[in-house]
Amino acid sequence: MQPSKFPTIYSITESEIDLNDLLARITLPSTGAAAIFTGMVRGVTSRGDAHETEYLEYESYVPMAEAKMKQVADEIREKWPVVEGIALVQRIGKLYPKTPTVLIACTAAHRDTGVFDAARYGIDRLKEIVPIWKKEFGPNGQEWVEGDYIPKPGE
């Protein structure tokens, strides 16, 4: 099986994230397992600075973000060659609590192949290098959420 036969989906979108559709698009006849991560807008945060959120506004440097999502997918394939399909989707715009905002899904023939680790790696890397930002709107006003990762040369 050549890697070129394996589907890779990456996109920044303003539309709803459809898990059923994305999963179907990365399922091959040889696929038996999928590990999927989704992130949602939290309306209530308890950890750290406890607060409430009315909504988030996401923006992205879209062409670079899509290129970096492809890079994350390439990194996953290098580390876990058994991974078959990969989907990375970030929704942007004004998003309310309970709404899925991001999805990473990896498929493989079997579940004991690192497919869970691959999905975990995917969301961690997306949050490090993919140019997306969010501004939080709550009862006490608005605030940009800043990450803390500084990409290294070559990333």
Binding site: G39, Y58, E59, S60, Y61, P63, M64, A65, A67, Q90, T101, V102, I123, L126, K127, E128, I129, V130, P131, I132, W133, K134, K135, W144, V145, E146, G147, D148, Y149, I150, P151, K152, P153, E155
Partner: protein, 85 residues
């Protein structure tokens, strides 16, 4: 005689708020480094001066660092650490 390099600048998130614009075009000297570009932006746009210390910079959609030379007709983006997800 100094030749000129025409570049496009894009600002995102906090940097855009401080710049007051999403994008700018400008001519810079050939062989200018990213560090020199940051110094120039900090001088030309006082609102950006403080941000230049921790800003992330990309050249043509790849992360770039202080010593890099800005290539001709580059698309340069400036933004804070990312916070997607």
């Amino acid at each position: 005689m100094e030749t000129k390099n025409h570049i496009k600048l894009l600002f995102f998130a906090t940097i855009r708020d401080r710049a007051g614009t999403r994008s700018l075009e400008m001519d810079i000297p050939d062989d200018m480094t990213i560090l020199q570009l940051k110094q120039k932006l900090g001088a030309d746009y006082p609102n950006l001066k403080e941000s230049m210390k921790s800003v992330l910079i990309t050249i043509n959609r790849e992360y770039a660092f202080d010593e890099a030379i800005v290539p001709s007709n580059a698309e340069i983006a400036l933004f804070p650490p990312v916070s997607g997800g």
